[in-house]
Subunit: 675 residues, 3 copies
């Protein structure tokens, strides 16, 4: 349980009483109660208020809010207010302001605006976190710490450059090692002095979006930046823990946010929390995958849904309203996949600045007679009713899909063979097929223990870091099924090619050699022609993007290309390895192949679907203390018929007993406890 003070699914969200007059606070209290809201995240952006000048701190307003919220029965997720620095600091200490990729020194403005290597920022952000912790350590409303806000971005200032050099010295020891790791003899870039190294910006090695001349320095700068920002988080974390060692600390992550290696970050979070803002065309399976990834950051521990909008967003091009029922449906989707909180941005809409058209529980009209408020209040009632039943329940998956941030950087930064290669998209193709098949899946990092799984899939495992290939071999040898694809095993952690034939270190376990890689135009397709029937797969399917020209070296050829000069070469292979087997998918297949392929893999591995749910109906399961809770989420606007098989269930929201066939209403939710 995140904090046993509040043993239920926390409900509430971001709240900025400092933007409002006292009479509004009274209304807030009344309406929070109406809506069943019990947690408010406060102090997210109040640094300027808390520290009006370098040597002054003033927490009187915060004292008042903490007390007031406590008195009205609301717990506090207390932020440290360092998500944006004060204007006075920007003026007085220019080092807090970032320098962008084009070398422009930023002026005061925006948020996520502090240089992570600014001595001023590091000093004062840690200082205020410590002061807050000291002040509120015994406050009864305090539930959890929320450090800063949505960390991210890059800086290219002189401080960052200097720290980068220190970081590189620590990592490589000698310039010889660095020159080798970055292959600097290419284009005569040999460094003879650490001071010659400058960050890879649009003024040096990079241009456009993730284009670089030297992948080595660009990868290292991303690592360095992710680490530098993590250091800022850790400085606050440590300052807090000195005073409140037992209160959990988190910071809100952003799903597949590309610039921070969240697996590394998660080691320093007491609980993972994240902000879920699906774009308007985001498939529900993508949101599900992201929840699973957030759960995977700490090997399956429950996480917090820190932010979502109750109705609409403001920063999309077209901010359509969440249709009736969708907010509730997506809230339960989070819970189904491991969230133990349902929190909104925001509880009350602000009157000015850029987020005033972002949805809120309390809209500008100010009263409770709105569709949005009614839906929020209804959900609040349900969450109260659920109590602690679901808290800390875990998912049990036998399939793991590997995701690796460093691999995402490497595939983005690579020059050739195709700009259309999108690592996350290829990962999602596999996830989506499993989602459609109602197979419970974990999203895991490269350091995860594979032995928990029967099937491990590592799409586009381009960068194979030290030890990974061994691990795959051991997993497969022991009876596991391993799957990877085209453009895998190519480079090591420095983006240096593993010589001797692709897929490099994975070649042995896969039993193949990929001689060449053809890149297809967006409108080009090749064919996957099955050699006979395999489960539901037979005949031919389309594929595209990249086509590895593969030679089987011991592997069995399950399918061949149907087109072009490499027609007849293998496109799908299976290699027996020890007690297990390793599959290679040499091109990027279309959806129909994927579904058949993964159905076969699961069937071979004896992995069962959670339910035979109709199209558009999502399933996910959490279990705890021998009880198991099957979530059924109808993403269709219309009712769907559900076949429950021979099982008997209690539906937790209605307390009804269900068996046989039942109807789930459009955008409806069932939480079925197996009886």
């Amino acid at each position: 349980m995140i904090n046993s003070k509040l043993p239920k699914i926390w409900y509430g969200g971001d709240y900025n009483p400092e933007q409002w007059e006292q009479e509004i606070w009274r209304e807030d209290e009344r309406m929070f109660k109406l809506a069943g809201i019990d947690v408010a995240t406060i102090n997210v952006f109040s640094w300027a208020l808390n520290q009006p000048s370098e040597h002054d701190y003033d927490f009187a307003w915060l004292d008042e809010q903490m007390d007031r919220l406590h008195q009205s029965g609301t717990y506090v997720c207390l932020a440290t207010s360092t998500g944006a620095h004060p204007a006075w600091m920007a003026r007085q200490y220019p080092d807090v302001r970032r320098v962008d990729k084009n070398g422009h020194k930023r002026q005061f403005g925006g948020r996520h605006n502090s240089c992570p290597n600014s001595p001023t920022y590091r000093k004062y952000s840690a200082a205020i976190a410590g002061k807050l912790a000291e002040r509120y350590k015994d406050h009864p409303a305090l539930l959890i710490w929320h450090v800063s806000n949505e960390y991210g971005g890059m800086c290219y200032c002189e401080n960052c450059a200097a720290e980068f050099r220190v970081w590189l010295q620590k990592k490589y020891g000698t310039l010889e090692a660095l020159n080798k790791a970055w292959n600097t003899r290419f284009w005569g870039h040999t460094f003879y002095d650490w001071e010659e190294i400058v960050p890879p910006s649009d003024l040096s090695e990079e241009w456009g979006h993730n284009r670089t001349n030297f992948q080595g320095i660009s990868l290292d700068y991303r690592r360095f930046m992710s680490n530098s920002i993590l250091d800022c988080y850790r400085l606050e974390y440590d300052a807090i823990k000195q005073h409140t060692p037992d209160i959990p600390v988190t910071t809100n992550l952003m799903g597949f946010y590309p610039e921070l290696d969240y697996f590394e970050w998660a080691k320093y979070l007491d609980v993972v929390s994240w902000d879920n803002y699906p774009s308007l065309d985001t498939p529900v399976s993508f949101t599900a995958m992201t929840h699973d990834l957030m759960r995977g950051l700490k090997s399956g521990k429950p996480f917090m849904l820190m932010e979502q909008t109750p109705s609409q967003q403001n920063w999309q091009p077209y901010n359509s309203l969440k249709r009736p029922g969708v907010m509730r449906l997506w809230s339960y989707q989070a819970v189904a996949r491991g969230a133990d909180t349902v929190l909104f941005f925001q509880l009350r809409r602000s009157v000015g600045a850029c987020e005033k058209y972002h949805g809120a529980v309390i809209e500008h009209v100010g009263h409770e007679n709105t569709r949005v408020f009614r839906e929020c209040a209804e959900l609040g009632r349900e969450l109260q009713q659920l109590g602690d039943t679901l808290l800390d329940a875990r998912s049990q998956a036998k399939v793991g899909i590997v995701y690796d941030w460093e691999n995402s950087w490497a595939t983005d930064l690579t020059s050739g063979p195709s700009v259309a290669l999108d690592y996350v998209k290829e990962v999602h193709k596999f996830y989506h097929a499993l989602f459609d098949l109602n197979i419970q899946t974990d999203m895991i990092g490269v350091e995860e223990d594979f032995s928990k799984y029967d099937l491990v899939i590592a799409p586009v495992m381009y960068m194979v870091k030290a030890g990974f290939a061994d691990k795959v071999e051991r997993f497969t040898e022991a009876g596991g099924t391993f799957v990877t694809t085209f453009f895998s095993g190519i480079v090591n952690e420095n983006d240096i090619v593993t010589l001797g034939g692709y897929p490099g270190e994975l070649r042995k376990v896969l039993g193949i050699w990929a001689e060449e890689i053809d890149a297809l135009f967006p409108d080009q397709r090749n064919e996957i022609v099955m050699k006979g029937q395999w489960g539901g797969l037979k005949g031919s399917y389309e594929c595209g993007l990249l086509c590895d020209l593969v030679h089987a070296e011991g592997a069995e050829v399950l399918a061949e290309y149907g087109q072009d000069f490499y027609r007849g070469m293998p496109v799908l292979t299976r290699n027996k390895f020890g007690k297990g087997q390793a599959y290679y998918v040499a091109s990027s297949p279309d959806e129909s192949f994927m579904k058949g392929f993964l159905a076969n893999l699961c069937e071979e591995a004896g992995i069962q679907p959670l339910l035979a749910a109709p199209e558009g109906v999502e399933t996910a399961e959490r279990s705890k203390d021998g009880r198991s809770f099957l979530f059924v989420l109808n993403h269709n606007a219309e009712d769907s018929e559900l076949e429950l098989g021979g099982n008997k269930f209690k539906e937790l929201l209605s307390d009804a007993e269900l068996a046989g066939t039942t109807t789930i209403p459009g955008r409806g939710v069932l939480i079925l406890e197996r009886l």
Copy 2:
């Protein structure tokens, strides 16, 4: 009359004799005469010639030109030459050079290049204007002053930053007031010292095109810039008026140019003038609307058409020729809508630099035997023949459409609900329907006297400034018909939301509450379903962009949404208010609805079309001393049949008497005086 020295429609345009040798001047004189040209705008870009170094002035060349033009019978529109600073000034006084949104200090080059808060620019631009006025105050050729040229653009230099702070102190008095107006507690942006405030550039609060974190500061910076540039104009204006208090002064505006608040500017122009450069796909109704806006800047006073091209432009992607007759047709369109001059850019094409492929009365070939020259000469003859008949005639409209520059900034800067919202486009939808219906319309500012009108339309009146709602209520109460749309009444002049329910201060007069605002994708549509028949409106129509979810609170519901979860909610309402009524259009309708809707409104208000003209034939009327002149402009390439009803007319260009049915040739023009 602009200047009674020349009591006819002025004819001529921009002229740069300083780029040519003496023998060419003789040719110019001969050809001006052939073409009936009587006005030349000179000295527009001659600052470097007039002031070759800081302390030297040399007007000898200009003396010669003034005298020469006078002797050859051409009057002068005398520019002050400050539209581009001299190279020596840019080098000697870097403060005259602007800093762009990305913080780049500009080098010498281009035009519209002077920082409006440069002490050097202000000093020397006013100085040269004064010197010119003193020198030519009694020159017989002098007709009007033309200050600078096409003012515009933005600057972000240190001088501007400092002056912005002064401007803010004057406006807000205290930082408390400013912090409140900008809602700076959002994201912790509280200012404790005026010096902490920096202009909202791409290095601080803004990015891309009109994206901002803080609407308050971004709005104020646009106001400040418009004012700063206006101050530059006014410094020249004042310097001139010291010497020639009775000679009118203007500067050439640019229609809907977004960055300057022309209603504010117009207060300081003796006569409005503007440059008409329709893009290749500009609807003729858009040009008409722009003429009407320029006329509206000074409440209906005639204006000057300062520039248009006789044939083609050079800065469009594809610069097609004006087809035969089009230059004449569009010239009369200007006159029909209030212009008392027809001036070209340019009289003679230059031989070098970026405007040499811009059309001119005298082309590079240099003689009069060209299609373009012949058309110009023909028009020159007609304008001479018209004499002073039309001068100072006024339009009589009973419909006013409100346009407000600050509202255009606010709708551009807003974050959400839809990037597709284009204020000018929504305004044009209403104008276009009236144009098609041949209803004479005024384009008016928010400060205009509404009592002149029977129908006032304020589309997307997002920003409702102090006093506006009262004014609307008084107008409606007294029997007027008021119309507004979705996304109106939302914020005050600081972009702070009016709490308590949209459309805020307009809620009472409209008798509705808009609970939510849905944003539609570009390919999404909803339906306007009429509740029964109303005039020509019945059945259903398409709408899109935004859909307000409206509750009628006293208003009558004329139509409902036909789709989506808000099907059945009001989309068109009418509220009786005093003796009048107020309409609310909750979404953006397609054209067919608009035409029917405005026909109904006009019929109810007893507003008559000027004529029942066929498709593609424009009508507009000016009246003077009891005489009324109806312009009929055939924008079709083919002849059109015209039904004149029971009226009898004299056609001014042919002197023919017309009645019953007549034919107007393709691209032809009739000026019909009612008999």
Copy 3:
């Protein structure tokens, strides 16, 4: 012969042994031998290795490589290593780093990164070239010098600005002359002091891609930059020639690379060499045209194919593999059009940095059992077999197409009439028609001797420099056929319009006057209506882009416009002039017209096709010492039937005798010697 040391078509390419360990060198030697590789280009990017600090030089590694390659039978194309400066130099001497168009000082990174006016760069690049020449002047492996690499780009630093002013003073003498040449009275840009002039960057006169306010300064800056970079080349050239006066020196050009005037450069190259990287959608006729242009740079002398990829590229969006046979086919295309070398980038793929996915003779797998290596080895065998047969053979063309870099700058920089005008594309239209007709064609500069040709075509000859019109008149008078198009003869070398009627100085020879120029939208078309039949031309054809409104003044009208208000005006004219005739094509015709038009021109001029080859089969001929070699290249994937007419040939690659009808395999090559 480029260098008689190696009297055959050189075969090999770029090679970077400094990136590899010694055991790899042994493998390289073995595999070079297998592939018939006899030339390696080394030291291209080794400046940092050769000069590890300002005062240290270390050529030990290079000594070893030179000796080793020599011992293993490989000759060396020795680069000077100055294509990218060392990191220490960038840090120690900031002047070597460029400033970009936005005024950003570059940091260390990339290649082509040195400011051409940097004193440091000039000093040390010449120094190292000299040192290399001195050291290796007598080395038996040394075959040719390769100065720097793919020169290009622009710099806008203070050193460039200062040198630009010096360059301008030398060119114009006085500011009066400069002000006149640039027409600076436009927009009041008169310069009174040389120091007032700043480079035309995005901070001064230019914006976006090739948009400028002043064509004069922008043209001169391009000339200055091309010259400045050429000066850098020449400094190295001179330093080399002091030691090795008899060894040829080149630098690798890039076809139609826009920023350097290669006709000017070619004067200082002992042999032209270039890098051929067709984009994925490049027509084969475009590659052929580029080869012909490279040959034309030195009036027909053979050139070097310095770089091409054996398989795929890395920097295209989608890097598809060269299909089997295509590398060989395109290699022979180069030879057919004048190349005496076939060199690759690269011999061995590097393991890291941005070109590791660029194809190479030796792939990452490292052994010879690859498709790519097998194809390379097969070609190596053929080239050995061909020996010196083709070396120094010349093309004999009676058609010359004029291409001029300054004209390309001028047409790019012009403002109006159409952004769609693409000079190279218009040139290619003519070339493509001749290519399809199997007419041997030369690409020539404006300084070429026209008397060699029967037909000279100068498409879009917008800029007519001093003497050109005279030359055209003399050529035509003497019996030649001259062809030009719309938008020709408009300006002089300073982009100043030739007054008195378009096409200016070409008006007399063409016998026409172009009164106006209409620009068409991309989807608009007009018609070319033939007046009767002329050869294969009759009826009507489509045209677009620009339409000159032409009056015949002595010229015969062969075709008229079929549409719009200028229907019936001439669109194709022929003017008898002396013994010859001059054609004017007033719009841009579609392909079918072009083919018929050029067939007629060739027939009238008695110019014969090389062969009646089927669609997709390219022909080209080289002759030498009375022998003539006809290349037949089948770009189709399928076999084609070839009609050899009455001739008898020996096919050089197979030694077969051919006559009558023969089959050329898909992607096959025949080299036919006439018997």
